[in-house]
Amino acid sequence: MFQKTLAFRIFFTVSLFLIGCFVFLPLLWMINTALKPADKTFTLYFFAGELTLDNIIGILSDKTIMTYLRNSLIVSFLSSFMATLVSSFAAYSFSKFRYRGRKAIMGAFMMSQAFPQAILLLAIYLMMQRFHLLGSYWSLLISYVVFTLPVGTWTLKGYFDGISNSLIESAKIDGAGNLRIMTRIVFPMAIPGMISIAIYGFVWSWNDLLYAMTLVTDPSRRTLAPGLVMTYLGEASTNWAAMMSASIVASIPVTIIFVFLQRYFITGLTSGAVKE
């Protein structure tokens, strides 16, 4: 009833417009700046002046930036896969097994989210150094898995809670072991949830600046976020046009992944929210 009133429609349209402005204006501004010639970066016009693709072509033909892009893809895919795998096993354990300390460990998982990542940096740095992992992708992969684990585990636990125990019991009666039950019965039913965690892990590692800058200092292994910041945001000068162009290029992989998998992402996140 309420949805059909004129007042609601006006409210809805205005709200949509305002939210749209907040969401899309920065993106449009980024594209606008990327398309301006370098000497017009600070000239205020919005797509209605001189535009050029030189900045974007420059980024695409920049081998260093492409190396950063490749490195980011490797790290993000690997960490997202590893985080999903570990989260799935942890969540299955919390959901389907009963053992002493289970709730305490679950609480500890959630508590670990309460600490800002920057505080953990020094401890993680020292650990990586002790294990001789500084400078290798493994230092990043392990860190990203650690940060994705709490959200991943809790999200997937909600998912697994929704899978009937009788199904698992039936499989056991048929002679299936735990690993077989997990990989052949439970995980296939949780694909949307696992994909949502994979996307979450991918985006987390794709956007990370602090850990990527600290743990890997070799330029040939550097990922995109620190690479762009170090290249274009300098002590005294800032190349906004190149920075914006590079940001557009950087956002393409994440956008493609999200567009193709958004159906799973939304299903995965909302699953278990309502008890039926």
Binding site: Q129, G135, S237
Partner: protein, 421 residues
């Protein structure tokens, strides 16, 4: 599911091959020594090539290896501390005046009097230049590039406002700002910082200009009656629209590069923003020139703040001699002058600083003139510099926003600074 998992596993195993790899090389290559040099300029677009050239030229000359480790300028202090705490190899680093004290307070820097020898340092540097790198009688920083943060102006805007020469006194400066405001082109006459740490940095030389300072030489709070005059002058400029709230150094640089600002305070690196905005490096001086800060009364000394980059060598380094050899190479005339030519970084050794090339550079001249009387930022040697600056900026902002009077501002600042030191 099984197929999906198998494909994923194969992919991951393939990618894992890339994920491994050696740590940063810290071992000596061949017969030479391998040192680690850290900083930020070797990462930046404008200086990356010349830093690479510095390293390779030195490596070819000496047979040693220089491994560069870089971060962003803003993160360098934090990253140096993390690396030091981790005990990673670190031999020599680039440090600007702003972070020098933070790094020095860790007690990890080598006394360069011992590394280079006091005599050698005195032979090659002016005493005032060396003093910038001294803490508690130790020479912890080797000057590399130095000038000052002074006022920068746009000659074209001044010319349009009818000013062919720069204002030299505050009275003239106010008249000039009035003429610029009268142009009606939406130009902000003066982009003095009114937010973040840079607002405190900009206030200090004006306090000195009016005849006072934040602290006395013994470290107690000064803020004499002239501080009230300074704050009232800021308020007056704001009321007349000569300055604006919510302007930081970054904002001022951008607005200046757009031609929307006539004056602001900056270091010699101001050139970089102008060049990034499309100005021909040779033409920068036409739109971005340094000038002496106007004085209160004719004959007063113009005030500016010391700015610069130093080289520091770490006490924990096992290759101090090689690091020192590399530092000498970096400040050598040939390398320093090339750095100056390419990036405008003023050399500091007696021999390089006195070459015709440096002395007659029209862009650098204003900065070098101002450097003659430049002072260190009053918080440069304080361990809680950030807290001190925050107090100054908060009280200044409250007054500019009309929440307190200039007298209350100075009283509050005095009380809070006294508690903080």
């Amino acid at each position: 599911m099984r197929k999906l998992l198998s494909i994923a596993l194969v992919m991951i195993l393939s990618l894992s091959l890339f994920a491994g790899g050696a740590n940063e090389s810290t071992v000596a290559d061949g017969e030479g020594t391998s040192i680690v040099w850290a900083g930020w300029s070797g990462e930046e677009e404008a200086t990356r090539d010349i830093f690479q050239r510095m390293r390779t030229t030195y490596e070819e000359m000496s047979g040693n290896t220089v491994n560069w480790v870089g971060w962003t300028w803003a993160d360098t202090a934090q990253q140096l501390l993390i690396r030091l705490q981790g005990g990673e190899q670190l031999d020599i680093a680039q440090a600007d005046i702003g972070i020098f004290n933070t790094v020095a307070q860790t007690g990890t820097l080598a006394d360069l009097n011992e590394v280079f020898g006091e005599e050698w340092l005195k032979e090659n540097f002016a005493e005032a230049t060396l003093a910038v790198g001294q803490i508690d009688g130790k020479q912890l920083g080797l000057p590399w590039s130095m000038a000052s943060i002074t006022m920068v102006y746009n000659p074209e805007i001044l010319s349009r406002a009818g000013w062919d020469t720069v204002p030299t006194t505050i009275e003239e400066f106010e008249a000039c700002m009035a003429d610029i405001a009268a142009l009606g082109e939406g130009i902000i006459p003066y982009g003095v910082s009114t937010k973040d740490d840079t607002a405190a940095g900009d206030l200090m030389p004006w306090l000195w200009t009016f005849g006072t300072s934040l602290f006395n030489e013994d470290g107690t709070v000064n803020l004499g009656p002239e501080a009230v005059d300074t704050i009232n002058w800021y308020k007056d400029m704001l009321a007349k629209g000569y300055i604006q709230m919510d302007i930081g150094r970054g904002d001022a640089r951008q607005l200046f590069a757009q031609g929307k600002m006539a004056f602001y305070d900056d270091a010699v690196v101001a050139k970089g923003q102008a060049v990034s905005a499309g100005v021909d490096p040779a033409e920068v001086v036409n739109v971005c020139s340094a000038m002496p800060r106007p004085v209160l009364n004719e004959g007063d000394e113009s005030q500016s703040t010391m700015w610069g980059h130093m080289l520091v060598i770490f006490d924990s380094s096992k290759h101090k001699d090689t690091a020192a050899d590399f530092a000498k190479f970096l400040i050598s005339d040939e390398v320093a002058l090339e750095y100056f030519e390419q990036n405008g970084m003023p050399p500091v050794t007696n021999s390089a600083a006195n070459t015709e090339e440096v002395l007659n550079d029209p862009y650098l001249k204003g900065f070098l003139d101002a450097t003659a009387t430049a002072k260190l930022d009053e918080t440069a040697r304080m361990t809680n510099a950030s807290e001190i600056k925050t107090i100054v900026v908060e009280e200044l902002q409250r007054t500019l926003l009309g929440q307190t009077t200039a007298e209350e501002c100075v009283e509050n600042m005095r009380a809070r600074l006294s508690s903080a030191i």
